[in-house]
C-alpha cells in the first residue's frame, strides 16, 4: 500500500488500517423509482475516485449514501464513523448568512476540532485557495467558484478519512477549478479517500478510479485504462456524419464524428470500406459508447414491444 499515512493526532489510526470505504450491491428506492440499482463502489485512502453521469444518473444518491446521509434499501455500506466523513452536497454546503470565517468555525465545532487547530488549518487552506481576502465576507456574497472552494475547505478541515464531494466543480471557471483540484489533491495527500461527482469526463480522467452511472446503474467502473479497454467493439472517426443505420451509432466530438461499431458489426473482409478511420478511444468515448449502447438496446426493446402489440 503506497498510500501516505493520515494526518497525525486526529484519531484516525484505527481507520487507517481500512483498505476501502464504499458500497456493495447498494440499492436505493424512492417509491416506485429505483434511484440506485445494485451499485458497488470502493474509495481507497490516499486516492481520488470519480463518479460520473448526467442529470438523474444516481450520482447524488450514491454520494449521499457514502456520506451516511441516506440509508440504502438493500446492499451494504462500509463507512468510517460519521465524524470521520467530510461531505459537500451539490450546490450548497455553506451557510449564506455566515461569513467565511464563521462558516469554518461552525464546521470545526461540529466536527469537534480544537479551535486553535481549526484556525491554523483554515488560514493555510484559505490562503492557498485565494480566499484570504474574503474571510469577513458572507458566504452568500461570494462568487460561485469562491463558494465552492469554501465548501470544499469546510468539508476537509477535520482531515476526514472519507471526503465526499458532490459536483464541486460544476459551473466553476478553470482558475477556481485549479484551486479546487489542489484542495482535492491535498485532502488525498493527507490520507483521505476522496470521492467526487462530475458530469465532465476530462475531469474524471484525473481520478485513479472512475464509476460511470446511468439511470441508477453502473455503466462502467475501474481505472480509466480499464474502462477504455473494456469498451465493446471499435471506434471510427469521420469528417462527415455517416448515412443509414450507422447514423444512430454516431456522435459529434471535436468538430468530427465518432462512429461506434459494436462487436460483430459489418466490416467483413471484402465489403466496401466504411467511411472514417479507426481511432483509439479515450475515457469520454468509452463512457459515451456505454450510454449509447444502453440507449440503442432500449430503443430496440421498445420497437419489438410495439411490433408485438401490432400483430395481436
Amino acid at each position: 500500500m503506497t498510500a501516505p499515512s493520515p494526518g497525525s493526532g486526529t484519531g484516525s489510526a484505527a481507520a487507517a488500517t481500512q483498505d476501502w470505504w464504499g458500497t456493495e450491491e447498494a440499492s436505493v428506492r424512492y417509491g416506485d423509482k429505483l434511484a440506485l440499482d445494485h451499485v458497488t463502489f470502493r474509495a481507497v485512502p490516499g486516492r481520488v475516485s470519480a463518479v460520473v453521469g448526467g442529470d438523474g444518473a444516481g450520482r447524488t444518491t450514491l454520494l449521499r449514501c457514502l456520506a451516511g446521509a441516506l440509508a440504502v434499501t438493500s446492499g451494504r455500506v462500509r463507512l468510517p464513523p460519521s465524524l470521520r466523513i467530510g461531505y459537500l452536497s451539490a450546490g450548497s454546503g455553506t451557510y449564506p448568512d455566515l461569513t467565511v470565517d464563521e462558516n469554518l468555525a461552525f464546521r470545526a465545532t461540529a466536527y469537534q476540532l480544537p479551535a486553535a487547530v481549526a484556525r491554523e488549518r483554515s488560514a493555510g487552506l484559505l490562503e492557498r485557495a485565494g480566499l484570504s481576502g474574503a474571510r469577513d465576507r458572507l458566504a452568500g456574497r461570494l462568487s460561485g467558484g469562491m463558494r465552492q472552494k469554501l465548501g470544499v475547505i469546510a468539508s476537509m478541515l477535520h482531515q476526514p478519512d472519507l471526503l465526499v464531494l458532490d459536483e464541486p466543480t460544476t459551473g466553476v471557471d478553470p482558475v477556481s477549478r485549479a484551486d479546487l483540484w489542489w484542495l482535492i489533491a491535498q485532502a488525498a495527500a493527507n490520507g483521505a479517500a476522496v470521492v467526487f461527482a462530475t458530469s465532465y469526463l476530462d475531469e474524471a480522467e484525473r481520478a485513479v478510479s472512475v464509476l460511470a452511472l446511468d439511470d441508477g446503474r453502473a455503466l462502467a467502473s475501474g481505472t480509466p485504462e480499464e474502462i477504455i479497454a473494456a469498451m465493446p467493439g471499435t471506434l471510427r472517426v469521420s469528417d462527415a456524419r455517416p448515412e443509414g443505420e450507422a447514423r444512430r451509432r454516431a456522435w459529434r466530438r471535436g468538430g468530427r464524428w465518432r462512429i461506434w461499431d459494436p462487436p460483430g458489426q459489418p466490416g467483413q473482409p471484402g465489403e466496401p470500406q466504411e467511411p472514417g478511420r479507426p481511432v483509439a478511444p479515450d475515457l469520454q468515448d468509452a463512457v459515451t459508447v456505454a450510454i449509447l449502447a444502453r440507449e440503442l438496446a432500449g430503443a430496440e426493446a421498445e420497437s419489438v414491444e410495439l411490433e408485438g402489440g401490432g400483430s395481436r
Binding site: P174, W181, I184, T288
Partner: protein, 300 residues
C-alpha cells in the same frame, strides 16, 4: 470575405473605476463558430451583454450586421443564457410559442400546431411536460430549439452544456454545427476546454482583454509542462508546494505547468521521481495566460 455578422472595435466597458472589458476587437462571420474562454470576471458576460444591446459601451464600437445594436438587430440574434431563459411552468412547445409571439416570427396558418411541429424530434416525447420537470439535458435542448426558432443570423450561447452527460453534450453541439452549416454565426462561452475542438476559432479573455486567439494548437504553441512520475506522489506534491511550484494531480502523476524540469527536479529534493517535459494541454496554457495577466495587472 464572408459577411461580418458581429464586429467589436476597441470595445471597452467601465463600471465606476473597474474596467470589465478593455479594448476588445472581435469579428464573427457567417457560419463561423467562435469560442470565448475566460475565468469568471474575465469580461465574457459583459461583452455578450454589449453584443445583445443590453449594455452600452464606454468606448469603441459594436456593430451587428453593420449597424449599432438595437431592437431590430436583437431580432436577428438567438441567445441561450446560462440560466436557459425558459418558463418552468410551460411545456417546451408553449415556451416556443411564447417566444415566437415575442419575436414576431410568422407562425403560419395553423398557429400553435405549426409551432409544435417545429419542435425537434428529440423533444416530441416531452411535448406535454412542463420544462421544470424535464431532465437538464432536455431542458437545454428546449432552450436551443427556442433560440433557433426564429432562424437567427447570430447565435450566442453562454455555457451551453454545463451539467449534461457526454452523449447529450454531443447532441447539443450537433445542433450548433447544423445551425453554423446553414450560415448562422455562433459565439459560445465555455469553461470546458474539451469543447474547444468544436469551435473554428478561440478567443481567450483575461481581465477584460483578449490575451490569445486562434485554434487550440495556435494558442498552446510550444508551451510545456513538467511531468513527475513517482511512487510517493503525496511527498512530491508537498515538496513542490513548499518550493512555490503548485502541481496538479492526474491519477498518480503530477503535472507542473510553466516550470522547467530541472527546477522541478531540484524542488523535489530527496523524493524519488522521474521528471520529464510534455506539451501543455489547452487548459494548462489557459491557466498560464490567465495567471500572467493577473500578475501583470497587479504589478501595474
Amino acid at each position: 470575405m464572408t459577411e461580418t455578422l458581429a464586429q467589436c472595435v476597441g470595445v471597452s466597458r467601465r463600471f465606476g473605476n473597474f474596467t470589465a472589458v478593455d479594448g476588445v476587437d472581435l469579428q464573427l462571420g457567417r457560419g463561423e463558430v467562435v469560442g470565448l474562454l475566460g475565468a469568471n470576471g474575465a469580461g465574457k458576460t459583459t461583452l455578450i451583454r454589449m453584443l445583445l444591446g443590453l449594455l452600452a459601451t464606454s468606448g469603441g464600437q459594436v456593430l451587428l450586421f453593420g449597424e449599432p445594436p438595437s431592437r431590430r438587430t436583437r431580432q436577428r440574434i438567438g441567445y441561450v443564457p446560462q440560466t436557459l431563459g425558459l418558463y418552468d411552468d410551460l411545456t417546451p412547445a408553449e415556451n416556443l410559442a411564447f417566444s415566437e409571439a415575442v419575436f414576431g416570427a410568422q407562425s403560419g396558418e395553423g398557429g400553435r400546431q405549426v409551432m409544435a411541429s417545429a419542435l425537434p424530434e428529440s423533444l416530441r416525447p416531452y411535448r406535454r411536460t412542463v420544462v421544470g420537470s424535464l431532465p437538464l439535458g432536455v431542458q437545454r435542448s428546449a432552450a436551443f430549439a427556442q433560440a433557433l426558432a426564429h432562424q437567427p443570423d447570430l447565435l450566442i450561447l453562454d455555457e451551453p452544456t454545463s451539467g449534461v452527460d457526454p452523449l447529450a453534450r454531443a447532441r447539443l453541439w450537433e445542433t450548433v454545427a447544423i445551425a453554423a452549416a446553414a450560415g448562422t454565426g455562433v459565439l459560445v462561452t465555455t469553461h470546458y476546454m474539451d469543447e474547444a475542438g468544436e469551435c473554428d476559432r478561440l478567443m481567450v479573455m483575461a481581465d477584460g482583454r483578449v490575451v490569445a486567439g486562434g485554434t487550440a494548437g495556435q494558442i498552446i504553441g510550444d508551451a510545456r509542462v513538467s511531468v513527475v512520475e513517482t511512487g510517493s506522489w503525496a511527498a512530491a506534491f508537498a515538496a513542490l508546494e513548499a518550493a512555490g511550484l503548485p502541481a496538479t494531480l492526474v491519477g498518480r502523476t503530477l503535472r507542473v505547468p510553466g516550470a522547467d524540469p530541472a527546477d522541478v527536479r531540484r524542488a523535489l529534493g530527496a523524493v524519488e521521481a522521474s521528471v520529464t517535459a510534455a506539451p501543455a494541454t489547452l487548459e494548462e496554457r489557459f491557466f498560464e495566460l490567465t495567471l500572467t495577466s493577473s500578475r501583470t495587472r497587479e504589478s501595474a
